[in-house]
């Protein structure tokens, strides 16, 4: 992998150049919290804090219009109506700049679900093909970081097209994909030189800050062993408020709902994020709800990431270790400790 260098000043010019034919999402200070917003005049990227919102929304926006429709009344026979439907495939080309490796890694989870040998979701696939991820490696860690425990790391390249690493005066840039290589052909990039060694040192130092990794490799079996242990799950979920902060901010949560939103004779079919932490998520049309308690709902969130997903798709955990769910939880619920508790509980059961 060739290593190049771009200075801080040139980075801004590069963004400017990219913004000419892309929607460039950058992390900005948005009333005190950091969110991804389109690059525009006067907007400076905030790169020293992890964005609160995850980079998934560039490819999987909270609301995606799938189609629009209009009902027409037959003037001859007002009882008869016809409907016109217009498909709305996304056309934007986008760049996500300054996401963290954990957040970008989340996209690999989406990739396995939305584009595989059985399914190709046209909306997702189109956006994914038209979106480039320029990711920024971390040089600091937080109390909620645990990327190293889920098979990732502070300089993970999974999902990215380009990986930047902060060094003196700018960033080193490595292309991860062919598309990324193309991006680095821009005139703003110089040869990395001795900056590359500095970047490697930064990556190593950050990884060391994270310390020893807890082993989650037996998590699927452990979680399934306590599957029917309602007491355990009710206990873990006692503090849960059943809000959707964890799932909506999660870079790997991909559940959605589809609704028709109409006003008068026109409307649109909308795909929106859904959250398994909500009572409505499994509420059936009959009024019956198979997931009656928040314990069962929390079980689904944790198990999906640490058991069901790895069982279904190549053993990878569907958790990228970014810690957003922990940090943003109003009750400070920690997914790490839930899985650890399940591991301990199943070990205890076995030894009995």
């Amino acid at each position: 992998m060739a290593c190049k260098f771009i200075s801080h000043e040139d980075t801004n010019q590069w963004l400017e150049a990219l913004a000419k034919d892309h929607v460039v999402f950058i992390p900005v200070d948005d009333g005190g919290s950091v969110t991804f917003r389109p690059y525009g005049e006067g907007r400076k990227p905030v790169l020293d804090r992890m964005p609160v919102r995850s980079p998934k929304e560039a490819v999987f926006p909270q609301n995606e219009t799938l189609l629009t429709y209009k009902y027409d009344k037959d003037p001859e026979d007002p009882e008869r109506t016809s409907v016109r439907i217009k498909e709305t495939l996304p056309k934007e080309r986008a760049v996500v700049f300054g996401a963290r490796p954990c957040g970008t890694r989340g996209m690999t989870v989406f990739d396995s679900v939305f584009v595989n040998d059985r399914i190709r979701d046209p909306y997702y696939a189109t956006r994914r093909e038209n979106t480039l991820y320029v990711t920024l490696a971390c040089h600091e860690v937080e109390s909620t970081c645990f990327c190293h425990e889920v098979g990732s790391g502070p300089a993970d390249t999974a999902g990215s097209d380009v990986l930047l690493t902060p060094v003196q005066g700018g960033y080193t840039a490595e292309a991860v994909t062919e598309r990324g290589e193309k991006m680095l052909e821009a005139s703003f990039f110089a040869d990395g030189g001795d900056k590359c060694a500095e970047a490697e040192a930064v990556k190593k130092a950050t990884r060391e800050m994270l310390g020893e990794a807890h082993d989650f490799s037996n998590a699927p079996e452990a979680l399934l062993a306590v599957f029917d242990d309602d007491e355990f799950w009710d206990d873990q979920a006692a503090a849960c408020l059943s809000c959707g902060a964890c799932t909506y901010l999660c870079p790997t949560c991909y559940c959605f709902n589809i609704t028709d939103e109409s006003t008068g004779t026109t409307g649109k079919r909308l795909r929106s994020w859904d959250t398994c932490m909500s009572f409505q998520y499994t509420l059936e049309g009959s009024g019956h709800n198979p997931r009656t308690t928040k314990g069962k709902r929390l079980k689904n969130r944790v198990n999906h990431k640490f058991a069901y997903f790895p069982d279904t798709y190549d053993q990878h955990l569907a958790c990228c270790g970014c810690g957003r769910c922990i940090k943003s939880c109003p009750a400070s619920i920690d997914i790490r400790s839930i899985v650890k508790a399940a591991q301990a509980r199943s070990a205890q059961k076995e030894s009995k």
Binding site: G31, G32, S143, A245, E261, L270, P330, S332
Partner: protein, 318 residues
């Protein structure tokens, strides 16, 4: 920590007659606590009481209805929500045991974050009541408590738990730093257009996770909120400014004369949207017009549940 030891002892005595006691325990790092559900003796030692005990344990009461005997460790502000719920006859007094103490204020994570980069970067924090010393990375700074505490603590006039069955430690002599809410006062200096733009901008980052609603101790509809109703359909699934703000108005209107200003909605908001401005404004109007302070007297009737034939404080509208 005299109060903590006393609290633990009082809980130990009362626990045999209770199904659960809700308090706080140490969270995943030194700056966070999470709710603690004490069901057995060994849980009691996990109890902590400090400036990070932000969650209002009364929020969990909506799940505990139906004859459960519940104990609650409550700050003064939290206890107001219990009184309000009692007043609305949503709880039975005989089911509750309240453990009170004197609170000297809680810290606000958003303010800490704004000051020190990110909450996860803070490595140590010491609070002596007037000053807070924070270490983050290679920065070490001492900041007055009033600059980092929750907004509600600045105007707090109920630092001691109201209507409690047990009180531990000494009463807090904490005085309100100001009688009026400065944030709201500053906001109201803006013109009508500026306020409109302000909300339009704030609501853009709302993700409609409903943390504000679910963290609210007065939101007793639980899983059957108007916001999720399809028929009638109050809100579209569109997470846009208009619908997001409409939800805020739904919350505010449903809390008129009920909101105890515990600030949980704003604290719970993962996007740090200052939605307490709306709640405080409404609570202020209720105080002005009906001389009513929610959650301070279980014998009163909420102002929107009653009326006067002649309303001396309402100007007649022609």
């Amino acid at each position: 920590m005299q109060a903590l030891a006393e609290l633990k002892e009082q809980i130990r005595q009362a626990l045999p007659d209770l199904d659960v006691v809700i308090g706080w325990q140490q969270g995943y790092d030194a700056l966070h606590t999470s709710p603690l559900f004490i069901r057995s003796e060994e849980d009691i030692d996990k109890l902590v009481v400090n400036e990070f005990c932000v969650v209002n344990p009364a929020t969990y009461l909506r799940e505990m209805r139906g004859g459960k005997k519940v104990g609650l460790v409550l700050k003064g502000c939290d206890s107001r929500s219990v009184i309000q719920l009692l007043q609305e006859k949503l709880l039975k007094e005989e089911d509750l045991t309240i453990f009170g103490f004197g609170c000297n204020g809680v810290l606000n994570h958003t303010k800490l974050q704004a000051r020190f980069g990110d909450i996860g970067f803070i490595t140590s924090l010491e609070n002596d009541g007037t000053n807070v010393t924070v270490e983050a990375g290679d920065k070490k700074e001492t900041v007055p408590f009033t600059e980092l505490c929750a907004d509600k603590c600045l105007t707090c006039s109920y630092p001691n738990t109201l209507q409690c069955s047990h009180f531990a430690g000494e009463e807090s002599a904490k005085q309100a730093d100001s009688a009026t809410d400065k944030a709201l006062e500053d906001f109201e200096k803006l013109t009508m257009e500026e306020r409109f733009t302000f909300w339009q901008d704030q609501m853009r980052r709302c993700i409609r996770c409903y943390a504000c609603r679910n963290a609210c101790p007065m939101c007793v509809c639980k899983d059957h909120c108007l916001a999720n109703s399809r028929e009638p359909k109050w809100l579209s699934e569109d997470v846009d400014v208009q619908n997001n703000f409409m939800f805020q108005l739904i919350h505010v209107m449903h809390l008129t004369g009920r909101c105890v200003e515990c600030g949980e909605c704003e604290r719970a908001c993962p996007m740090d949207i200052p939605i307490m401005l709306l709640r405080r404004k409404m609570a202020g109007i209720v105080r002005d017009v009906f001389a009513y302070n929610a959650g301070t007297n279980a014998e009163e009737t909420p102002p929107l549940m009653c009326f006067k034939v002649e309303e001396p404080t309402i100007e007649e509208r022609h």
